[in-house]
């Protein structure tokens, strides 16, 4: 490495639960994916394309969850996405007409029209294949791609069955490999949920490093000599990198973080909620239930003030200024840290990918600016991926991190509490029954239809284990949906279990379940047999 005094590693974690519903003509929760593609993933690809075109030697790590990978490649969702995008363009065109006497608003409506068309153009340029774009940047050596557990299962609470955790990890990695064509070196622990011993399963799966929250390293078995600014070797050469609280706070904090600036676009001001119903009816749920349309005309403004109109140029200038501030603070941080450490510090800054572009409209511009500024040759900071860092920095301190998550209060309380605890007896029993099925049907002759049913049962177990369901039940947002998803998966597993045990498999029903829950095509139920 060069003469830089320290490193900065930015990680974006992109994840959505599996929200594909072929049994309906359209389904509200699929819009989560469509909004993320439109506002985050495609603009991110655009930013990476810009950086490549300008030959900026940036480094960025992107974690893509297996459920997201499956949905981005799904034919049905691709078709539905383009319909969604075309309706956004149509809505923007209608807005241009509706706002003809409000020039400032019309200017924004035109901007939205251009934006949606641009997104469609980029999407089309990559043959409607978002992953192709990410792969291109991966092979340029600048974008590091990693993955996470199969359905983002919250591993600390699945841990009463080692095979349940092992399969979340292994199916996640196998899915990534089969879709992307290479193995990920790093692993995003869902919700940064770590417990001692997890590193052994990660090692078995060929993983070199993972991320945990700050206190996971601070409370490690042996005092971390470099604090959180150097990874810990968990004792088996699997490395744990800790989240830096300072750079996290600057971006995450609702009060002091950049996204709350008065000039930035207000996420909660959307014409889906603000216009007369007749103006937005074709673009909301069933023509009646108001939802976000993606067209937002106001800026954050100040507390208690009437929302003022959004000025995109001013917001863009502010994003650049905030990017400069971010880099200046990292340089300052590195300057202080490098005096106290025996090696260059590495500042690890992980964020949810969907913060950028979706919640924080200017976030992608901010990120592109950060990557440009950090890559300038005359500063004291070097962007790095953790894989690269580990290739060049050797002899790491051996110490086992402590159990931790990046959730509220830092442990597991967000995923097990009075709002969601009812799911765990079911999830654990389901995993136990799956284990018994795997044991009983391994090493014996199994008919093709039985094998399909067993594999489908395995898929169902994984889908029910997603951390998103207890998260939603606690956060109180789309509770009905999360409750239904869990109950449906449990019922589907019960059904399959009964069919398999009684050897009475209805192929029509099985095909229907395979069509609806069509994840992980290469799954093998025998992998649920415990490792002895």
């Amino acid at each position: 490495m060069g003469t830089e005094k320290g490193f900065l590693s930015i990680i974006l974690h992109a994840h959505l639960p599996y929200v594909r519903h072929p049994e309906y003509e359209s389904f509200f929760e699929e819009v989560w994916l469509f909004e993320a593609i439109t506002e985050c993933y495609v603009p991110l690809i655009n930013a990476l394309d810009n950086l490549s075109k300008d030959n900026v030697d940036y480094r960025l790590t992107l974690s893509l969850s297996p459920t997201l990978l499956m949905m981005l490649g799904d034919e049905l969702l691709k078709t539905r996405y383009l319909t969604y995008l075309n309706t956004r363009i149509e809505l923007a065109e209608k807005e241009i007409i509706r706002t003809k006497n409000q020039k400032e608003y019309q200017k924004l409506a035109r901007l939205y029209r251009r934006f949606f068309i641009h997104v469609r153009q980029i999407y089309q340029n990559y043959n409607f294949d978002i992953l192709k774009a990410f792969k291109k940047h991966y092979f340029s050596g600048r974008l590091e791609l990693i993955s996470t557990a199969a359905t983002h299962g919250f591993l600390p609470l699945l841990n009463i069955s080692e095979i349940a955790v092992r399969n979340q990890i292994n199916v996640g990695i196998d899915t990534f490999k089969s879709i992307m064509g290479f193995s990920p070196a790093g692993f995003w622990l869902p919700e940064c949920g770590y417990y001692p011993g997890l590193e052994l399963l990660l090692d078995d799966a060929g993983i070199n490093y993972f991320f945990i929250d700050t206190h996971g390293v601070v409370d490690a078995s042996d005092l971390p000599k470099n604090g959180i600014y150097a990874p810990l070797d968990c004792g088996n050469k699997v490395m744990a990198f800790a989240r830096d609280p300072e750079s996290s706070h600057q971006v995450w904090s609702a009060q002091e973080g950049y996204p709350g600036d008065i000039n930035y676009r207000e996420y909660y001001s959307d014409i889906g909620f603000e216009l007369d119903l007749e103006d937005v009816a074709p673009y909301i749920l069933d023509g009646k239930t108001r939802i976000n349309t993606g067209i937002k005309y106001h800026r954050v403004t100040g507390k208690g003030q009437e929302k003022k109109i959004y000025d995109p140029k001013k917001a863009k200038r502010k994003a650049y200024k905030d990017a400069k501030d971010f880099i200046a603070k990292r340089e300052q941080q590195i300057k202080i840290l490098s005096r106290k450490m025996n090696r260059p510090p590495v500042i690890v800054s992980p964020y949810d990918a969907e913060l950028f572009g979706h919640w924080w409209a200017e976030g992608i511009h901010w990120l592109e600016s950060v990557l440009r500024l950090a890559s300038e040759p005359d500063n004291q900071i070097k962007l790095v991926s953790c894989k690269e860092y580990l290739k060049q920095q050797k002899n790491h301190q051996v110490s086992v991190p402590s159990s931790s998550t990046w959730g509220d209060q830092g442990y597991s309380s967000y995923w097990i509490n009075e709002d969601n605890d009812w799911i765990y007896p079911f999830l654990h029993e389901m995993a136990e029954e799956m284990e018994k099925l795997a044991v009983d049907f391994t090493g014996v002759s199994v008919l093709p239809v039985q094998k399909r049913a067993l594999n489908q049962a395995f898929r169902t177990v994984l889908l029910a284990q997603a951390s998103d369901w207890p998260f939603i039940l606690k956060s109180g947002t789309t509770i009905d949906y999360a409750t239904k998803k869990i109950n449906d998966y449990l019922a589907r597993f019960n059904y399959l279990h009964e069919c398999i045990r009684n050897n009475k498999i209805n192929e029509h029903y099985l095909l229907a379940l395979e069509t609806m829950d069509n994840v992980f095509p290469d799954i093998d139920y025998r992998d649920y047999k415990p490792v002895i």
Partner: protein, 199 residues
């Protein structure tokens, strides 16, 4: 504005069919029938006591077992189910020696099947397990079911407030200045997680 549809161009990109083999209506019927007739249930034959760690101060236990069966196995116990207890043990391993001691216990009420447990002592080297049992006429605890072991969460440092410099330990400095964890804005997952989105 002419529309771009995926269907119109997909022949260049994929050979897979967008149309499922079954109709939407067929899929929906299967989904609804299964949800109706195979609703989640816990098998009463599956006797179980599970202990989970929530944070450094709390554990969570849930259980499922047949009451009649337990009474048959403990003839010396009273015939009422009022005397069932959940007992939490800490376990410390020092070399080859495993030491267990009861930490806290709860009387199980009627059909109760779960319990949040506040730990009286936090020792990072300990693991925990639980037993459900009955007190016999001599007030001796007769265990009926035992849980898994669960490692505790540890919190050895007292954290006070945020500043990155407090997360470095100079080599020659024994004092490790760290700040109060609870003051940190730990997460804004609700703001960025799609699954936390409202309608």
């Amino acid at each position: 504005m002419p529309e771009t549809t995926y269907d119109s161009v997909k022949r260049f990109t994929s050979s897979k069919s967008v149309t499922p083999a079954l109709s939407r209506q067929e899929l929906l019927e299967v989904s609804q029938n299964i949800s109706l007739y195979f609703a989640p249930r816990i098998s009463s034959n599956n006797k179980k006591l599970v202990l989970l760690s929530i944070d450094p101060q709390h554990l969570y236990a849930y259980w499922n077992f047949d009451d009649d069966e337990s009474q048959n196995k403990t003839p010396s116990s009273s015939n009422t189910s009022d005397n069932k207890m959940l007992r939490i043990y800490s376990q410390e391993v020092r070399g080859d020696v495993v030491k267990s001691k009861p930490l806290v216990e709860f009387k199980i009420q009627g059909s109760q099947a779960k319990q949040l447990i506040s730990l009286p002592i936090i020792n990072r080297k300990e693991t925990y397990f639980a037993k459900i049992g009955e007190l016999n006429s001599s007030k001796n605890f007769i265990p009926l079911i035992i849980s898994n072991n669960t490692a505790c969460f540890s919190r050895q440092k007292k954290l006070k407030k945020i500043s990155f410099t407090d997360y470095i330990i100079p080599y020659n400095n024994i004092e490790f200045k760290i700040k109060e964890q609870s003051k940190l804005k730990k997460t804004h997952r609700e703001r960025t997680n799609y699954s936390g989105k409202g309608r």
